[in-house]
């Protein structure tokens, strides 16, 4: 079955053949993959999905990688969806679920998108993979390129923290630290894309890459017994995944895989220190003005988000909202999640849980709705965020005697 039949501009509707391009030549709008849904409808079923591999590739019929293409996989996706009873009790929600995407091979949801991007790129003859990243994307691209046996170039800002550099360099990419400010690194990337025959995961192969995000929703639906939740809370950086979550729920309903009258409300979460989408939402406009990021939630600190306008429209259309939280709320929320559910998330997850908590406490829900929060990255990536002032954490210090234990701890 050939399911990808082309690409289409989201703004002006111009059609393109399948190729490594992300913007429309006519209007500079973003391109999306076009599927043959009739063919997909004939091929897909709940039974076929259930019989598929225990990874996100069980939804391959809705991904832009044809059946005869060998996929580049490390077992990404099919992460746990857990009923959060204790966190739910604190927030007055009896049916709160967490999609724990910290459990991916490189510990963030980026493994989903990169697995699709590199599978597509290798099948289309690319020998070198590229990306520009400050963290999660770099990890995923370096690991999956190694897995694929492809060369990779990962561009990072020269002042990136050593821990992040090491966890990427171990996979053996060509790691290029760029001396320059953020805008200069951005500009260099757009020049590189034009100059080298490489597959830049989040740039020229972005239309394929982005499709991988849909598997979060497919899994959530399947794990809920093919029911559509009432609301989903999603962190927003570029807004790329938010847009694809909207597409995914639409596909599940149109294909009759999930049961429900309508899409879940899609709610977006940002850090106040980098909240261009929230600012526009609050001001009642869908024109997103770029900002200079200043937040500990670095993995979602995108000041000029490519898909911000679409996020606002889709949040509005589905009955969701866009909300933002402070730095303190991010830290408190990481700790709250860890303490109540045993899940350690990075700062982006702190933003998501922070927005969930803020909305719950403001009385957004009655309490019996099915709410799902996407927890997209692991806490060890940003462990510093929850360290005490001395860089460690609260603990009892005792002498190696029972007496000392009783004196210090048992009081």
């Amino acid at each position: 079955m050939t399911r990808v039949i082309g690409m289409r501009c989201r703004e002006c509707g111009t059609d393109y053949p399948v190729q490594a391009t992300h913007v429309c030549e006519m209007c500079f709008g973003p391109l999306d993959v076009v599927y043959d849904y009739d063919a997909i409808k004939r091929a897909i079923s709940r039974e076929k999905i259930a019989a598929g591999p225990p990874s996100m590739w069980r939804y391959r019929d809705l991904l832009p990688v044809e059946d005869d293409v060998p996929v580049v996989t490390l077992g990404e996706g099919f992460t746990p969806l857990v009923l959060a009873e204790r966190l739910g009790a604190e927030l007055g929600l009896s049916r709160l679920y967490l999609k724990n995407d910290t459990m991916n091979p490189t510990n963030s949801f980026k493994d989903r998108v990169v697995s699709v991007a590199i599978s597509w790129a290798r099948a289309h003859g690319f020998e070198t993979i590229g990306c520009a990243s400050t963290g999660n994307l770099a990890n995923a691209v370096a690991a999956y390129s190694a897995r694929a046996g492809l060369e990779s170039f990962v561009f990072i800002p020269a002042d990136l923290e050593p821990a992040k550099i090491i966890s990427t360099s171990v996979f053996g990419p060509n790691l290029v630290a760029v001396r320059g400010n953020y805008d200069q690194v951005n500009r260099l990337c757009s020049q590189l894309v034009e100059s080298y025959p490489w597959a830049f995961c989040n740039i020229n192969v972005r239309p394929f890459y982005a499709e991988g995000s849909k598997t979060l929703d497919f899994e959530t639906a399947e794990q809920l017994g093919w029911q559509v939740p009432d609301e989903v809370i999603i962190p927003i950086a570029s807004g790329c995944q938010f847009v694809k979550h909207h597409r995914a729920w639409g596909e599940l309903l149109d294909l009759g895989l999930a049961e429900g009258e309508r899409q879940p409300a899609l709610t977006g979460a940002q850090a106040l220190g980098c909240a261009p989408v929230y600012n526009a939402w609050r001001d009642g406009t869908d024109q997103v003005m770029p900002v200079k990021p200043d937040t500990i939630a670095k993995s979602i600190a995108i000041g000029n988000p490519s898909d911000g306008t679409y996020v606002i429209r889709m949040a509005r259309e589905t009955g969701g909202v866009v909300e933002a939280v402070s730095e303190q709320e991010i830290v408190d929320s990481i700790k709250l999640l860890a303490r109540t559910e045993g899940i350690f998330t990075e700062t982006a997850g702190g933003v998501t849980i922070g927005v969930l908590a803020k909305l719950a406490r403001a009385g957004r829900w009655k309490g019996n709705e099915t709410i799902v929060a996407y927890v997209t990255g692991h806490g060890l990536k940003t462990a510093d965020a929850v360290a005490g002032p001395d860089g460690t954490a609260h603990r009892f210090e005792i002498d190696p005697t029972l007496k000392s234990f009783r004196e210090v701890v048992e009081v």
Binding site: V23, F28, G29, T134, P157, N202, I203, P290, I302, N304
Partner: protein, 79 residues
């Protein structure tokens, strides 16, 4: 020759000024409008700029000196 896709963002004071015309007049830059949204108060224009790299740098600096925000048309590429 180099090409650059940019988004120009204007405030209220600049909406009525012919800055794109002046860009072409003062620099060796050809600009090509792809999409725009301009209301009375503010606006943005998506442009393709073509010219020698040095000239593009100068032209962008000129726009910025006039108080226009010049951003990559597709948003940030570093994730």
């Amino acid at each position: 020759m180099a090409r650059r896709r940019v988004k120009l963002i204007f405030g209220r004071e600049l909406v009525t000024e012919p800055v794109i015309y002046q860009l072409g007049k003062n620099y060796e830059i050809v600009s090509n409008i792809r999409r725009a949204d301009v209301t009375r108060d503010e606006g943005w224009v998506l442009l393709e700029l073509t010219g020698e790299p040095d000239e593009l740098e100068k032209g962008v600096a000129y726009l910025e000196s006039r108080g226009i925000r010049v951003e990559p048309a597709e948003g940030d590429l570093v994730e």
